[in-house]
Amino acid sequence: MSTVQAAKSESRTHTGDTAGRTLSGRLRSSLQQFLAFASLIALVIFFSIASGKFMTLSNISGILLATSVIGILALGTTFVIISGGIDLSIGTGMTLCSVMTGVFLTYLGLPLIVGVIGGILTGAVMGLVNGTLIAALKIPPFIATLAMMMIAEGLALVISGTSPIYFGSTPGFTNLALGSVIPGLSIPNAVLIIFIAAVLAGVTMSKTIIGRYTFSIGSNEDATALSGVNVKKWKVLIYTFAGAFTGLAGVVMASRLSSAQPGLGMGYELEAIAAVIIGGTSLQGGKGSIIGTVIGALIMSVLTNGLRIMSIPQEWQNVAVGAVILLAVYLDMLRRKETS
């Protein structure tokens, strides 16, 4: 098949927003979700067969827990990417948010809730800055957020004095991620949190005005502006909204490690972005879905966990992950050509 057509069909298909679509469109896209989900299932089945240790309740909840941080980051970034942007600052930014949470709770001894909200707001503020740099000062998203990545990394070290901040003074904090509000069922709260976050993100994406403009700006920024939409304002909003997720990820991370670790974060952004793209969101903007991102994140963590359970040597794990990602995305492509 020809370059053009492929390029077209690729660029045409897979609008993840569940808002009004043609019947065929709706069928197609739900089919895609289903099939993307299928390749996740395939992985799960494979690992279950490969190792009896994989399909245990505690390992599954382990996988979900491992998905939480990257997953929450990916949720926010989905908005940024669909709007045609990118955010490289989420990795170290998340760390800065953990550190600030530590500052609020341990240094300033503020109440738990304040610390949590403070951490989330820190993320939102970073998003606000990113958005302003990009929308108002017209700095390309890649470079603006790359700079923010470095700044956040530095600030996290400076503020924490390059040593971890512990939450001894707020014992409740650790339960935030690791406790379990549902009695009986041993699902850690972090899993609940990402689930709620995903629902929130999904609804925002498909049912609210901010989601609509996310798609519109990503699809054709100039045309959106010509239609009288205040693109500048909405872009800033989108980055701020996404930033709040970075903040949440930072809080969950800190709670899980019951400490803010200033040294972490670098590299998490690529994992999160990978999850988003494996989930079928296009870096060209205008196309994507939250459910896709969730599936993408799960594929990533199932893969890592499974390979570890099989105790594949580390160096081969990278090779395997790379290969599987290629395969998954390639099948996805084939499928879209079919369904388109």
């Binding site: 020809s2 679509r21 005005i209 100039d222 045309a223 959106t224 010509l226």
Partner: protein, 513 residues
């Protein structure tokens, strides 16, 4: 005059290297359609961009209902009641039709929640009111150029505005759709509203316009009464000379040997069993309603779309054409109907756009012969009279028609035996059209074969030796030039009771006389 709706006083605007407008003025009365005509690059779109707040004028002033106004932004233009259909689409391909039309004005429940049911209902009402056949829920990116144009029109009409500006709204439409659009416009204009209507299709002028304002080279020429002024006078005002537009030329008789033969060609989306033959030195016209599948035929032949059934013979030998590159190497070139997305490199300069298909010819051992390339481009800019400060101007900065000429130049340079022109004269002014017609005839007489897809029946009738009429992705029939006329073509084009045909009562418009 007291009953002026819109008044423009000596507006000037220049761009780097170009004076687009010099002291231009015009006025629109209530309840009138003012046609704005001029050659490609005369400054029409620029003037409209000033009115709609995209560019700011260097000097001059506007009055709306007698009150002086300043238009700083598109949003403000809307608020003032000025809505515009731009010459180039401004649509979000990934959004649905309804979402596109009401972007920025979405019906909401509460502050943030969207109400898409109301959105689609509102769109449906709109379509019913203005009698346009569109599905509010279909994704704009999947629509044909023609349907996308309809979305733009619907969008402009959805703001109930005072001044409605249409910059070549019919360039992508065929006769029936044009008639429908005129109906829409007549319903729109009222004691409180008026329309500025830009078109290169002269036949439309006396169809729809009350008065005609003529621009030439960024300057104001004159405003005349549409009814009482013969078209040819308007044209000579535009081009500054008289044009002899003969009704039907007698093109050199086509050869007999078949250079391209399609046999039962089908594609997954659209075509079923399309067969036809193209002879050496022949101009084969393709007519049909929007969405009939003419573009698809072209795309299928050059390998841009996969063929699911049927075969293609080139010079008597059956060929598998996987992609346009392969087609090109067989001497088949395709000029797309969608110059912005499938024709031009907007950010690259005129020279590079013209040379794009022929780069091999301008390179030795991998190195570009920049001078030769520039020279050849310069030459074609001359022949086609492309209005540009230099061959190094980014294509984006050319006027619509001149952009179209650049795409044509690209294929003239490539020098293919078989040329498929999809809406080649879209957005091109009358004078230039005549030149391109002559050019096509020359190519044919040199023995080249041309498939000419056009939504302008008069054009098809003028140029084609034979005419293939398509309907619903099938060939409805083919006519020789002398047996063909608008009526029997329209009859064939609707043979299979196409459901997306625009309402009857829209009688096809007359040819150029």
């Amino acid at each position: 005059m007291d009953n002026l709706l819109l008044n423009v006083h000596n507006v000037s605007k220049s761009f780097p290297g170009v004076k687009a407008l010099a002291d231009v003025g015009l006025d629109v009365r209530h309840n009138e359609v003012l046609a704005l005509v001029g050659e490609n690059g005369a400054g029409k779109s620029t003037l409209m961009k000033l009115l709609s707040g995209i560019h700011a004028p260097d000097s001059g002033s506007f009055e709306l209902d007698g009150r002086p106004i300043q238009v700083q932004s598109p949003k403000q233009a809307q608020e003032l009641g000025i809505s515009i259909i731009h010459q180039e689409f401004n649509l979000m391909p990934d959004l649905t039709v309804a979402q596109n039309i009401y972007i920025g004005r979405e019906p909401r429940s509460g502050n943030f929640l969207l109400n898409d049911r109301r959105l689609n209902a509102r769109a449906a009402e709109l379509f019913a009111r203005i009698r346009i056949d569109l599905d509010p829920k279909s994704k704009v990116g999947d629509l044909t150029v023609a349907k996308q144009q309809m979305v733009e029109i619907a969008k402009a009409l959805s703001h109930d505005s005072k001044v409605l500006i249409m910059d070549e709204p019919t360039a992508a439409l065929n006769e029936a759709e044009v008639a429908a659009l005129h109906e829409i416009i007549r319903n729109f204009k009222s004691e409180s509203t008026g329309v500025i209507y830009i078109s290169h299709r002269m036949d439309e002028i006396n169809e729809i316009a009350d008065r005609v304002t003529v621009l030439r080279d960024g300057g104001y020429v004159d405003t005349v009464d549409a009814g009482s002024t013969p078209i040819r006078d308007v044209i000579s005002m535009m081009v500054g000379r008289r044009l002899s537009t003969e009704q039907r030329p007698d093109p050199a008789p086509a050869g007999t040997d078949v250079v391209l033969a399609a046999d039962g060609v089908s594609t997954r989306d659209m075509l079923s069993g399309v067969s036809f033959e193209l002879r050496a030195g022949e101009i084969l016209g393709f007519a049909g309603l929007m969405g009939a599948g003419r573009t698809e035929v072209a795309r299928a032949i050059v390998g841009a779309d996969r063929i699911t059934a049927g075969s293609i013979e080139v010079h008597g030998r059956q060929q598998k054409i996987p992609n346009p590159a392969a087609a090109a190497s067989l001497g088949i070139g395709y000029l797309s109907e969608d110059r912005k997305h499938l024709g031009l490199l907007l950010d690259r300069n005129v020279k590079e756009n013209i040379a794009l298909s022929s780069l091999g010819r301008f390179s030795g051992g991998g190195f570009m012969k920049g001078k030769a390339m520039a020279a050849k481009a310069q030459e074609l800019v001359g022949t086609l009279r492309i209005k540009t400060p230099s061959v190094n101007q980014p294509a984006r900065n050319l006027s619509g028609g001149n952009q179209q000429k650049v795409v044509i130049a690209k294929w003239l340079l490539k020098d293919c035996d078989i040329l498929i022109f999809d809406e080649p004269t879209r957005g091109i002014d009358v004078g230039a059209k005549e030149e391109i017609y002559t050019l096509l005839n020359e190519l044919a007489s040199q023995g080249k074969s041309i498939i000419m897809i056009s939504s302008e029946l008069p054009e098809v009738l003028r140029l084609s030796h034979r005419i293939v009429v398509m309907c619903e992705g099938r060939v409805a029939g083919s006519l020789s030039n002398d047996e063909a006329d608008q009526e029997n073509i329209m009859e064939m084009a609707t043979r299979f009771g196409a459901d997306d045909v625009v309402p009857a009562g829209a009688e096809p418009a007359g040819g150029t006389q």
